[in-house]
Amino acid sequence: MRMGVTALLLTLFAPLIGAAAVLFIGRNQERAIRVVTLLFSLCTLGISALLLPEFNSASHQMQFVVDVPWIAALDTGFRIGLDGTNLLMVLLTTFIMPIALLAGWKGITQRVKEFNVLMLMLQFAMTGVFVALDTFLFYVFWELILIPMALIIGIWGGTERIYASVKFFIYTLVGSLLMLIAIIWLGFAAEAQGIGFTADLLKLRSVAPNIPSNIQFWLFLAFALSFFIKVPLFPVHTWLPDAHTQAPTAGSVVLASLLLKLGAYGLIRFNLELFPQTSVALAGALSVLAVVGIIYGALVAMVQTDMKRLIAYSSVSHMGFVVLGIFSLTVEGVQGAVIQMVNHGITTGALFICIGVLYERRHTREIADYGGVTSVMPRFAVLFTIAMFGSIGLPGLNGFVGEYLTLLGSFRSPFLNNWAYAIAATSGVIFAACYLLWLFKRLMYGKNNNPANHHLRDLTRLEYWQLVPLTIVMIWIGMAPRTVMSYAEQSVRNVVQNIENITFTRTAHNQP
C-alpha cells in the first residue's frame, strides 16, 4: 500500500520534475533534450507499472489515497487516488506518452526544448485530471491542459494552426467555465446537505444523490457540457477535426489517444457517480446524441479527402460508442466504454502515427496523392493493416471487445429499454469498415502511378519503436481482454449498482 502511494505520486510528479530538468539543458543540445525527456517518460511508465501488482482489483474502493489540505477554508485539498477506471487511464497515459515523444523525434525540428517541456507538462496535467479526487484540483488540472495543448497545436501545427488552436482553446474554455460554476454550486449544495462547503469528491459522492432533482439537473448539464465538448459528442465536436488535422503528429496522438478520454472519464466520475437519478432521466436523450454522433462521424469520415481529417471524424464516431456505453448504465456498457477508451487510444494513436509516417515522406495528407504504397513499403502495410482492423473492430483485435460490449450494454439496458439505439449504432461499425477499407484501398493498393511514390523508404527503426508496442497491445487486448478489464470491473459494478439501487428504491417507494 505504502509503495503504491509512492508510485502514484511519482507517476504524477515525475513528468513535472522532468520538465524542470529539461529547462536546465542548453537550447542547442537538442539530442540531450530529447533523450532526457524520453527517459523521464519511460521512467514514469516503469513506475506506473508498479501500480499494477499493488492494486487490489477485487475492491471498488479508492486506493493509494493521498489527502493533503490545501485551502482549508474551502475544504479543498490535494486529494488523489485510484480505482479501476482511472488506473487504466493513467496507464494508458504513461504508455502513450513515450510513443508520442518518439513520433515527434524527427517531425519536430524547431524549438525542440519548448516542445519537450510542453509535452511533459501536458502529461503531468492529464495524469492529474485522472487521479484527482477533489473537484477544485480536478478543475485546476483540467484547465492546465489547455495551455500546453494550444501551444503545441499553434507552434508546431500545419498551415491553419492558429485558427485550430484558438478554436480548441475557446471551445474547451466555454465548457470548463460552466463546470467551474457547477463545482462551486455543488459545494454549496453539499453544504445544504449538512456536510459543509467542500470540494472533496468522496464526500460529495455520498451526499450528491440527495440534492434536489431540479438542482441536480442543472449541475449534471454543466458538467456534461464540459465533458461532451472534450469527448467530443455531436454537436459540439467541431473543434476536433481542425485541431487534429493541424496538430503535429505527436500532438494528434496525444489529442486522440489521451485528451478525448478525459471527457469520457469525467462523465463516469462526475455525472454517473454524483447524479445517478439525472443520469437515468437523461440516458435516452444522450444516447440519441451518441448514436447520431456515431453515424454522422462515420458518414462525414467517408467523404474526406484528407486522411488526417478522416481519422479525426472516425474519432467522433468511435467516441460515440463510449458515450453510448456509459449512458446504457449497465455493467457491460460502462465496462465496454472503459475498454473502448483504452482501445481507441491505442488504435487511433497507431493510425495517426501511420499517417505521420506517410506525411513525413511525402509532405501531403491528400489521399489522392498516394496509391500502391504497399509495393514499396510492405512492412508498413502490415502494421497499418493491423491498426486499421483494430479500429474497424475485427474480432481478435482490441476494437471488437469495446464495441461489442457497448452495443450489448445499450441493447440490454433496462434504462433505455429500447433496441433501436443498439441497432442504429451497429451501422456505425459497418460504416467504419467502409471508410477505413476504402482509405486503405486508395492509399495502399492499386498501381503505384505517382513517380513521387516510387522510392518511399519502408519503416525506420524509430518508427518500429512507435508502432510495434501499440500493435502488441492491440493483439493482447483482442486476445485476452479480461487481463485488462478485470481491473476496472469492481469500480464499474459499484457505479452501476448505485444507480440501480437508487432507481429501484425510488420505484419501490412509488408503488402503493
Partner: protein, 478 residues
Amino acid sequence: MNTEILGSLPLVVIWLALGAIGIVIQAFIKRDSSVVYGYYMATLAVTGILAATTLWSRGTAFNNMITLGGAAAFFDILFCIAGILAMLASKPYMQRMKAGFDEFYTIMVGSIAGMMLMAHAQNMLVMFIGLELMSVSFYVLAGFMRTSNRSVEASLKYFLLGAFASGFLVYGIALIYGATGSLQYGDIFTVVLGGTSQYPLLLAIGSVLLIVGLSFKIAAFPFHQWVPDVYEGAPTIVTSFMSTAGKAAAFSAILPAFTALMPMVKTAALTPQLQLTLAIVSAVTMLVGNITAVVQKSVKRMLAFSSVAHAGYLLMGVVAGTADGHDAIMFYLTAYTFMQLGAFVVVSMLETNDETSLTFDAYAGLSKRNPPLAAAMAIFMFSLAGIPPLAGFFGKYLLFIAAIDAGFTWLTIVAVASSVISVWFYLGLVVKMYFQDAEHSAVQPPSGTSAVTVAVCTTATVVLGILPTLITNLLASW
C-alpha cells in the same frame, strides 16, 4: 494608546517623509541624482514594513477618523509594493522617454500617501481628502511627458472628468450627511441599520451619487469612458500604477463605505436595491470592457479596457457584501496588481518613440526575440484570463463563490461569459508572441531594473495561484 501610535505609524511616516523631508531634500540637491529615487524607495520599504507589523493590531486614531491595522494595513502593504515595483520599472522607462525628472517620484509617493489615507478612512471626508490627493497626483503624473500631445491630452481629460466625478462624490457625501447626521462610517451604519433616518430619500440619492463618484475612480460602466484615452496617453508606467494601485485604493474606500451603507440585514430597506444597482453595473462593466477590448489594435488600449472589465469582476464582491466577498476582493486586487502591473511594465519595456511599438503586430515573434519576456507576458495574459493555476484564476474563483453564496448566480454566469470573451484578446496576444514570426526585427531597448519588476510580478502571479493560502489565511485570521 500604544496601538494608536504604533498603528498610525505607517501613515505618519509616509506623510512626514513626503512633506517634511522629501521636498526639502529635493530643493537642495542636484537634479536627476539618484538620491531622491533611493530616498523614496526607502520610504516605501519602511512604510510597508511598518504596516506589516500592524497587520494584527486593531484600533482607531484621530478621534475615530482613522482605522488602524487589519484591512487598512493590508492595503498599505499592497500600495507600497505596487509603488516600489512601479518605481523600479519607471527609472529606465522615464529616462528613455526623456522625462526622467525627480518630481516624478515625489508625486508618485504623494499619490500613495493619498491612497493610504483612503484605506484608513473611517470618515467620509477623510476618505475624500485621500481620494483627492491621489487623484491630483495622478492628473500630474498622466501629463508627465509634457512634450507629448497625447500625454497632455490624457492629463487634461482625466482632470476635467475627474473633477466632475469628485463633484458627484462630495454631493453624495453631503446628502448622506444630511440624511444621517454624521460623516463617520460607524454612525451612518447605525442609522442605516436601524432605518432611523428621517430622510430616506436623501440617503438613497446620496448613496447613488457615491456610487457614481467611486465608479468613476474604479472605471466602472458607464463612467469608464475616460479610461482608454487616459491610460493610453499617460506614460505606460503611470498607467501601470494608476490601473492597479489606483483601483485598489478606490476599492479600499468602497469596502468600508458600503459596509456602512449596505448592511446585509433585512431591516436595511435600501440594501436589495443597492445590491441590484451594483450588480447591474458590475455585469455591464465586465461585458462592455471585454467586448470593447476585443476590437483594439493597441496592446496598451486593450489592457486599458481589460482593466475596466476587471473592475466589473471586482464589483461582484461588493455586490455580495459578505465578509467572504470582501476577502475575495482583497485577494483579487493583490493578484490583479501583480499581473496587470507586470503586463503594463512589459509593454513599457517594448515601447519606443514609434507609435507602432504598442500594436499587437509589434509583439509578433517575441517568443523568439526575447523568450523570458514573452513567457512572463504569457503568464500575465493567462492569469488575467483566469486560467489556473495562476493567481487571477483563484481570485475569480473566490469572487464566484461569494457571488453564488449571496444568491447572484446570474451575475456569475455573466462573469463567465465575459471571461470567455476576454480569452479572445488575451490569447490573441499569446498567439502573436508565440505563433507568428516578426515581419521586421524590432530593436528592443535595454530593460534595466524593469526586469526586476517583471520577475517579481511573474513569481507572485504563479506563487499566489499555487499557494493562495498565503493571503487567504491572513484574511481569514481577522
